[in-house]
Amino acid sequence: MKRISKKAIALTMAGALALAACGGDDGGTDAPSTEAPSTEAPTTDAPTDTEAPADTEAPAAEAWAVNTDDCVDPDAANAPIEGSIKIGSAMPLSGGVAATAFAPVKDGFEAYVQWANENKILGDVTIEVQIEDDQYNKDLTPGAVEKLLDSGAHVFSGIIGSPNNAAVRDLLNEECYPQLLALTGSPEWGKAEEYPWTTGILIPYTVEARAYAALIKSQFPDGANVGVFVVNNEFGQVYAEAFKEIAPEFGITIVDEQTIEATDSAPPTAQVNSIASNAPDAILAVPLGAGCATFLGEVANAKAANAGWDPQVFITATCASSLILDLAGPAADGLYTSNNLVDVLDPETAAIPAIAEYIAFMEGLGKGDIVTTAGAGWHTAEMTVAILKQALESPEGLTRASIINAARNFDQVGTLTREGVRMKMNGLTDQFIAESLQVVQYDADTRLFTDIGELITDFES
């Protein structure tokens, strides 16, 4: 399955070492390809900031390039796309709780594409988007993708779910269609040698787990006892494995590990009671959706029953929305979580012109109520279009190959990214677009997050 040209491999041999560093100790220090970073300050003024043509030229010398020789139809992969480009995606739009959680992502995605067309981000090229419903069922994803291919999609972006992306990964790599920005945080989406056409957008769980471990160490320099509470699915399992692996490194002893089924809506009373009976210094929690508030409520109950026990609570970024945390009321006060996007409900943030424009645009579409949850969709679409723009401006023009090349040599900021966070990928050296994150603490009274420490960019290479 090696599809990268030998030249590219030779050029990035040294890069492979950095890749190891990327997932390992203290990545980022020895990245050999010091590609000229954007000359532009990472501001979040307006979405039009993403036009930074300077970005694309600098790394040209040793830029990663995809090899299209093994494609089913190499000519098609290099054929120019003119007039309009179609982005396809598969998301859960119906059937079950996943749809409720993710339906706003579709709205945000489509809203950005509409905005981009109105503002002519790709010049004369119109962007079309078609999102099929796979009900979060990996058995339906191939059918959805085949339907999109038949209807002329050029590029796929933002497919939700790890198994769903894995189910079409072979097909899209064989056909040489870019499968951009998979909306899952699995470390699977950083395998450019095996799957050059597939990339992710979320911060890998491994990176997030490491950030929390580092913060726990700084709070408990003499070592900490930690209770782990995870949802019993792919997300929770990968997260917990990552945390357990690095725990000794940070002087963390895991005293209890409890799980909850993803479909189980019952409060985790017994799980939290069990954790409480071990009285850990901190809890690392990886609940899902509605489970976030339910878990926090149980922690509050357990604290009331165990006087004197007041653990630090670290909760995964999927819960980092004041909409979700507000449900838990005072129980959410003081917890730690993380994010690489801004909180649009923060009035200060909402006043930033670009973000105000986003909110106004969503309100104009009658979707003002979902500005937070739709943000992930907007952000994904914005990054997709930024990749397309970079491809359009490349010497090859807009082709499927130039799109994936642009994606893997990418360094930009988005409207909704935090200040200082750069969305960047660099060939085999840096295969994850998002590895910077900010640990934040929630204040239940003001319903706002405050930054804790510096923005963590150590994991970028």
Partner: protein
């Protein structure tokens, strides 16, 4: 109304037309239709195989099972583990999966010997719920990879077929999946048909209609029930292998591996017509068509659907599917095949030849009878 006699030339001609139509349709789909249609047909075939296997147990023997998703998953996992961990060629995993599921099916059938009706429904439901729980069990993670599941299970080198050419890329993959599923479907159909038309099949129907009476008449109820459950489980497992090979992924959260899978298989069987050989086939095609059509509404924000459901926070797909299922049950309480048969007898009546009469004698008798009339 058109009356024809069984075995008469007209009857044979009618059968021939039927076979020809099916034959042309089966060739037409992969050669003339778009990739996504081909894909939908192979998805339908997978579900049809599962529903057929369930029909054998529920439709013909009268033992309800809401646990067939477990056999589906067992087959899928057997294939995934053998291919990924043991380097098996995918083709052989069908046999292995069928064998494993046969044993599991026979074991699970043991309680079914004593438990009946609603209690059996719930016991098999427990099996369906238990399967993903066991797959995720920490003591089995070494084998199943837990909640993560197993991915990149693939046909590495799709075969080169003399007529169709190299099966690569999306067309090749879809066409390959189609033919693979079709072959499994035909084998499953033949197995079911063979059982149903045999002495064993008649004893199954006797058990369904009145178990005590069947036992009195000398049917070995225990052996028949255990055997049919085992066969059904192994057929369902081959459907699971097909599903794993199509997506290359199997996880304990996959819908067909969980309780929802059992429910889908049951829906297909009942909608098509329980206790008929063609029921699951018709039901599967209708279900997949309905499911794809209704899910398509989710990506439409304008048009009639948009006008009707513009207020909704989420796609109306499942609601419309539910309404459609209720309508089908009102129009065709015995399934679509039952409805078709009822309409068909209004047009054509096939007069069966009297049982046990040799053809020649019968034809002679009929000529005589005709003369007398």
């Amino acid at each position: 109304m058109w009356k024809i006699k069984e075995g008469s030339p007209q009857h044979w001609a009618l059968r021939l037309v039927g076979v020809a139509v099916i034959f042309i349709a089966v060739i037409w789909v992969p050669t003339q239709m778009s990739t996504s249609r081909v894909g939908q047909f192979s998805d339908a075939f997978v579900l049809i195989v599962a529903a057929m296997s369930l029909n054998l147990v529920l439709g013909f023997t009268g033992m309800i099972s809401i646990g067939h998703s477990a056999f589906f998953g067992l087959g899928g996992y057997t294939a995934a583990i053998l291919i990924k961990d043991h380097g098996w060629s995918p083709g052989y995993t069908f046999y292995a999966a069928a064998a494993v599921a046969f044993v599991a099916g026979c074991v699970i059938a043991l309680p079914a010997l004593r438990i009946k009706g609603i209690y059996l429904a719930l016991v098999t439901l427990a099996v369906a719920v238990l399967f993903p729980v066991l797959v995720k069990w920490k003591k089995l993670v070494w084998l199943t990879d837990g909640a993560k599941g197993i991915d990149s299970v693939r046909y590495d080198d799709l075969p080169v077929w003399p007529i169709i050419g190299e099966l690569k890329g999306r067309d090749g993959r879809a066409v390959f999946a189609y033919w693979l599923a079709f072959v499994v479907l035909v084998i499953t159909y033949l197995v079911c048909r063979g059982i149903v038309k045999s002495r064993f099949g008649r004893s199954l129907v006797a058990i369904r209609d009145n178990e005590t009476a069947a036992a009195v008449m000398g049917v070995n109820v225990t052996a028949a029930k255990v055997l049919v459950f085992g066969i059904s489980a192994s057929l369902c497992a081959t459907a699971g292998v097909l599903s794993t090979l199509r997506t290359g992924v199997i996880t304990p959260e996959g819908q067909y591996v969980t309780l929802l899978g059992s429910i889908v298989f049951l829906l297909i069987m009942v909608v098509g017509g329980a206790g008929t050989l063609w029921g699951p086939i018709v039901g599967g095609l209708v279900y997949v068509w309905l499911d794809n059509t209704t899910r398509g509404f989710g990506s439409e924000s304008d048009g009639f659907i948009g006008f009707l459901f513009g207020w909704a926070d989420q796609s109306p797909a499942t609601l419309i599917l539910g309404v459609a299922l209720v309508l089908i049950m009102f129009l065709a309480p015995y399934g679509l095949v039952g409805l078709f048969k009822r309409l068909w007898v209004k047009a054509v009546v096939v007069i069966p030849r009297p049982a046990g009469t040799p053809v020649a004698v019968q034809m002679a008798a009929e000529t005589v009878a005709g003369d007398l009339r």
